[in-house]
C-alpha cells in the first residue's frame, strides 16, 4: 500500500529514537545474564517478571506463569495467597507496564532476533491479543484448579501451560533432551511439545513476536498496567506532523496515531523515533492530547 501521507518520507527519526532503537538489543542481551545465571538457582524461590522456564538448567528466578499455575493446582489441598507473585507482578507492572516485555524478556528477545531474518511479515488482526487472556484465565488458572480438585497434582496434569509452553520446550526440554541423547537414552521431550516449539520458531520468522501477540499470559497481564503505570508514553501534538512514522515503526500493530498506552504495546519505544511520542516517568499529564492540540 502506498503511504497516503505526502511528507511521510521527509520525517527523519530523532536522535533519542535512534539511540533507543540501537540500545535495546544490548539491554536485552544484558538481561540474559540476569535470567540465565547458573549461580542464581537459589533465587528459584522468588518469582521473576519475565517468561523464562524455571526448569531451565541455567534459570535463576521462578517462572511467574508456572508459579501461578502451581498455586491454582494447589488450591484444593491448601488455600494459599501468592503474595510474592502478585506483589512482584503488580510492582513491575505499575512501574513500567509491559516495558519488561520489550526490554528484558528473553523469549521476546529471541523472537525479535528471529524476526530480523525474514524482512516481510504477516500482519495479524488486533483482536487476537485477547486470546492471551483466554490462556491466562483458562490454561493458567482454571484448568490446573479443576484438575487439582480431581486430585491430580500439577506435575502429573497431562494438559497444562507448562506442558504446552514453547519457552519451556526451548529452555528446559531441549537441553535435557540433548543431554539424554548424548547419554544414549534418546529424545526425552514429547514430540508434541517439540512440534509446538518448532512451529513457534517458524512463526517468529514471518510474524513479529507471535507468542507475545497471541498467547503470552504474562504479557497480557503486564499490558493491562500500560494504562496507569508510572512509566508511560506521552503524545505531544505540537510535534506531530502526521507523518505516520510512529505507526510504521510499531511491530505490534498498535494504532499509535490513535492511542499509545494500550494493552497491545510492549513498550519497545520504536514509535518514539518520530519525536511526537516521548517516554515519560511519573509525570502526570495536566491536559489531554486533544486539549493541547486546540
Amino acid at each position: 500500500m502506498e503511504c497516503a501521507v505526502p511528507h511521510c518520507q521527509q520525517r527523519e527519526p530523532t536522535v533519542l529514537g535512534r539511540k533507543l532503537a540501537r540500545f535495546r538489543p544490548w539491554v536485552q542481551t544484558g538481561f540474559l545474564a540476569v535470567w540465565l545465571a547458573p549461580l542464581g538457582r537459589w533465587l528459584h524461590g522468588i518469582p521473576g517478571c519475565v517468561f523464562h522456564c524455571y526448569s531451565c538448567p541455567l534459570s535463576s528466578f521462578a517462572c511467574p506463569v508456572g508459579v501461578a499455575a502451581n498455586y491454582a493446582a494447589l488450591l484444593p489441598a491448601a488455600f494459599e495467597v501468592p503474595y510474592l507473585l502478585i506483589g512482584v507482578l503488580l510492582a513491575v507492572g505499575a512501574l513500567g507496564g509491559a516495558l519488561v516485555c520489550g526490554w528484558a524478556c528473553p523469549f521476546g528477545f529471541l523472537q525479535d532476533l528471529l524476526g530480523k531474518i525474514v524482512p516481510r511479515k504477516i500482519s495479524l488482526p488486533g483482536w487476537l491479543g485477547y486470546t492471551r487472556y483466554v490462556v491466562l484465565v483458562g490454561l493458567v488458572l482454571l484448568l490446573p484448579m479443576v484438575l487439582g480438585f480431581k486430585g491430580i497434582p500439577f506435575e502429573k496434569q497431562v494438559v497444562s501451560i507448562c506442558r504446552l509452553c514453547p519457552a519451556g520446550a526451548l529452555e528446559a526440554g531441549v537441553p535435557y533432551s540433548v543431554q539424554s541423547v548424548l547419554a544414549g537414552h534418546g529424545w526425552v521431550m514429547s514430540w508434541f511439545k517439540t512440534g509446538i516449539l518448532v512451529s513457534f520458531l517458524a512463526a517468529a520468522l514471518v510474524i513479529h513476536r507471535p507468542w507475545c501477540r497471541i498467547f503470552c499470559p504474562l504479557g497480557g497481564f503486564l499490558a493491562l498496567c500500560n494504562r496507569f503505570s508510572l512509566f508511560h508514553l506521552r503524545f505531544n501534538p505540537k510535534e506531530c506532523v502526521e507523518c505516520n512514522l510512529c505507526r510504521s515503526r510499531c511491530s505490534m500493530g498498535v494504532k499509535v496515531d490513535q492511542a499509545v498506552n494500550v494493552p497491545g504495546c510492549i513498550r519497545c519505544l520504536e514509535c518514539t523515533t518520530c519525536g511526537a511520542i516521548e517516554p515519560c516517568f511519573a509525570r502526570p499529564q495536566k491536559s489531554t492530547a486533544r486539549e493541547q492540540s486546540v
Binding site: 502506498e2 501521507v5 522468588i46 521462578a62 510474592l84 528446559a172 503505570s229 510504521s248 496515531d257
Partner: protein
C-alpha cells in the same frame, strides 16, 4: 525495525484523550512492594517435611524442584523380606495388619526443602 511500512493517513479526530495520572501507578507500585514484603515474611499453611511451616519462597522453590509431596501419592512401605519362609509369612501377616490399622497422615501436602528434581513438565 528500521524500515517504514506504509500506513493509512493519520486522522487526528480519532486520537484518544489518553489522560495519564500519577497516583494510580504510584499506589499500585506501593501495593506491589508491600505485598512483596508481606510475602517475604509470610509463613504458609503448608508444612515442610520436618514439621515446620514453609515460607512462601520455599513453597515456590518446591514447585520447580519436585518438592511438593501429596499424602495421596505417598508410596506404601515395602513388605518385609526374610530368608526363613515361616518367619516371612508371620512378618508379612504382621505387616498387613499394621497397614490396615495405620492412621492416615494428618497432612494433605507438604514441602520437601531438599528436593532438587527438575520439573518434569
Amino acid at each position: 525495525m528500521s524500515q517504514r511500512v506504509p500506513q493509512p493517513p493519520v486522522n487526528p479526530a480519532l486520537r484518544d484523550l489518553e489522560r495519564h495520572d500519577f497516583w494510580p501507578g504510584f499506589v499500585a507500585a506501593l501495593a506491589g512492594v508491600v505485598l512483596v514484603l508481606c510475602g517475604a515474611r509470610h509463613l504458609t499453611g503448608v508444612d515442610t517435611v520436618d514439621g515446620s511451616a514453609a515460607q512462601e519462597s520455599q513453597l515456590i522453590k518446591a514447585f520447580s524442584s519436585g518438592g511438593l509431596q501429596y499424602a495421596s501419592e505417598l508410596p506404601a512401605p515395602a513388605p518385609p523380606s526374610l530368608d526363613d519362609p515361616a518367619a516371612q509369612a508371620e512378618a508379612l501377616d504382621r505387616w498387613t495388619r499394621q497397614q490396615a490399622n495405620a492412621a492416615p497422615p494428618n497432612w494433605t501436602v507438604r514441602v520437601d526443602t531438599d528436593a532438587k528434581t527438575p520439573c518434569p513438565t
